[in-house]
């Protein structure tokens, strides 16, 4: 049987996927609010059919993507509509496809004077409605609890929500996350809103490059193992075939 080849193949497939995920991390090293990802693998033990040897074989399978939701570095930009969350929580955004969540707080205002993401989706306040600014007043000030005021007038409060189970969130691209239907967002009490700041991705370049090297070397190792297995088989055929 060519079992070592199949085991090797399963490893190579997961390594290729791990490379894809590392490539995505590196490509998004400069994306605000991006959270780094890692492929989780598991062993899949199986008993070979009709084998005289009862030892089980362990294949490698990808079982999930782990997301590291740790805080990214905050950079001061001074822009009035750049808002970052320090601590737990996400901004709530209303898109055409439904509610989404994001850590990317580089907001702007649209032509209806609503606070929106750069894609034009309204950012929701803690009351679930968009935040509408008054163009005739001075530029908005955003307090650490998310409340927005222009001069003496209070405009609203930017909603910050968290989820008990972060693993259930799915990325949908455009820096947005989607929560499953049954997950209830909880108003985050400990997330501090910082105006004039941008949260960078939490990608650590050194770690990613190390992963990259590790993945390529592991791939080569497996390839060599497969070659040697093949060698063994061909030598066995040739040697056993010789008489005398």
């Amino acid at each position: 049987m060519n079992i070592p080849l199949y085991v090797g193949l399963s490893t190579q497939q997961t390594l290729q996927r791990a490379l894809e995920i590392t490539a995505n991390n590196i490509a998004n090293a400069d994306t605000a609010g991006f959270k780094v990802e890692e492929l989780l693998v598991r062993t899949e033990p199986t008993v070979p059919p009709a084998s005289p040897d009862p030892r089980p074989i362990a294949y490698v399978l990808d079982s999930g993507v782990g997301r590291d939701f740790r805080q990214g570095a905050l950079e001061q930009t001074g822009a009035a509509f750049d808002v970052a969350i320090e601590g737990d929580g996400f901004f709530q955004v209303e898109t055409d496809a439904g509610l989404r969540y994001t850590r990317d707080g580089r907001f702007t205002v649209d032509n209806k004077n609503q606070l929106t993401t750069k894609a034009g989706d309204p950012v929701l306040g803690s009351n679930g409605r968009p935040i509408v600014l008054d163009p005739t007043r001075s530029s908005p000030a955003i307090a650490p609890d998310g409340s927005v005021s222009q001069g003496a007038a209070s405009i609203g409060r930017i909603g910050v929500y968290r989820f008990p189970d972060l693993a259930a969130l799915q990325k949908t691209g455009d820096n947005l996350l989607q929560a499953p239907d049954d997950a209830q967002p909880i108003a985050a009490g400990d997330g501090v809103v910082r105006q004039g700041m941008v949260e960078h991705s939490n990608v650590q370049p050194v770690l990613e490059i190390t992963n990259l090297i590790e993945i390529t070397r592991a791939y080569e190792r497996v390839a060599r193992m497969m070659e040697q297995t093949n060698d063994l088989a061909s030598r066995a055929v040739n040697t056993l075939g010789q008489v005398g």
Binding site: I21, T22, A32, S63, D110, E220
Partner: protein, 262 residues
């Protein structure tokens, strides 16, 4: 191999980043220039294994799922409309806006453009014009024989004429503001045009209703900060290199696979 394409999107994004940074640095000494910033977003994710899918007949479910991202894209190039510092020039017709607002400029095509660059001068017919010779709106003519022009913080323009004691009012500058200043479309020559994203212009006299006040004898410098641009350049270059490393790694893996002896 998807990793190759993913890394290519990363390199393209960093290339755009360097282009934006170089434009900022090139315009460091442009009057009224507002720096720009390339902003990135992650691309679509492909769910290879859905979270919540059954992983065995026993009813166990996949807790997290495998989602593979496909790289990065430029979401927007955003103009940061932060106030630039005001530089004293002593020139009578250099006007800076301290706060919100744009001067209105009549283009030869008849359209109105908007600018923060208030380094104006006088045309042969006495009109106040921009450095390109476009008339500043509302049009004002400095009378012949004027010895001095004074512009107040709220936009009153007065000329002192030789032989007359009282200065003569020659006009009132109106400035424009927009809901979304970052949505204005740049057309070069320090000029911006109204767009669907910016919303309609809201006109009014300076120093009232949230408009900035005028300062005569000053120009607004660009808000480009040399140190932060150079830092951004270094970061962009390193990020570009890292993405190229990914391409090398993916290429190496492909070559390992293709050199397997059968």
């Amino acid at each position: 191999m998807r990793a190759l394409r993913t890394a290519a999107t990363g390199m393209a994004a960093q290339q755009l980043n360097v282009e934006v940074i170089s434009n900022n640095i090139a315009n460091m000494n442009t009057v009224g220039f507002k720096k720009q910033r390339a902003e990135f977003q992650d691309l679509l994710y492909q769910s290879v294994e859905r979270a919540g899918a059954q992983s065995s007949v026993g009813g166990t479910i996949v807790p997290t799922g495998v989602q593979v991202g496909s790289g990065v894209k430029a979401g927007s190039v955003y103009r940061i409309t932060e106030q630039g510092s005001l530089t004293q020039t002593g020139n009578k017709l250099d006007i800076a806006i301290d706060g919100r607002g744009f001067f209105q400029v009549l283009l030869p095509s008849g359209e109105t453009a908007y600018t923060r660059a208030g380094n104006f001068s006088v045309s042969p017919t006495g009109q106040i014009v921009t450095a390109e010779g476009y008339t500043v709106q509302p049009a004002m003519t400095v009378p012949q024989g004027a010895t001095d022009v004074s512009i107040s913080a709220d936009g009153q323009v007065q000329a002192t004429i030789a032989g007359q004691v009282a200065p003569q009012a020659i006009g009132q500058i109106q400035i424009a503001s927009f809901f979304n200043e970052a949505g204005l479309e740049a057309i070069g020559d320090n000029l911006l045009m109204e767009s669907a994203a910016s919303g309609p212009a809201n006109l009014g006299p300076p120093a009232a209703n949230g408009f900035g006040k005028l300062k005569q004898g000053y120009t607004e410098s660009s808000n480009v900060d040399a140190v932060s641009e150079v830092t951004a350049l270094i970061v962009a270059q390193r990020a570009y290199e890292m993405n190229s490393k990914v391409i090398t790694a993916a290429d190496q893996m492909l070559s390992t696979a293709s050199q397997l002896k059968s």
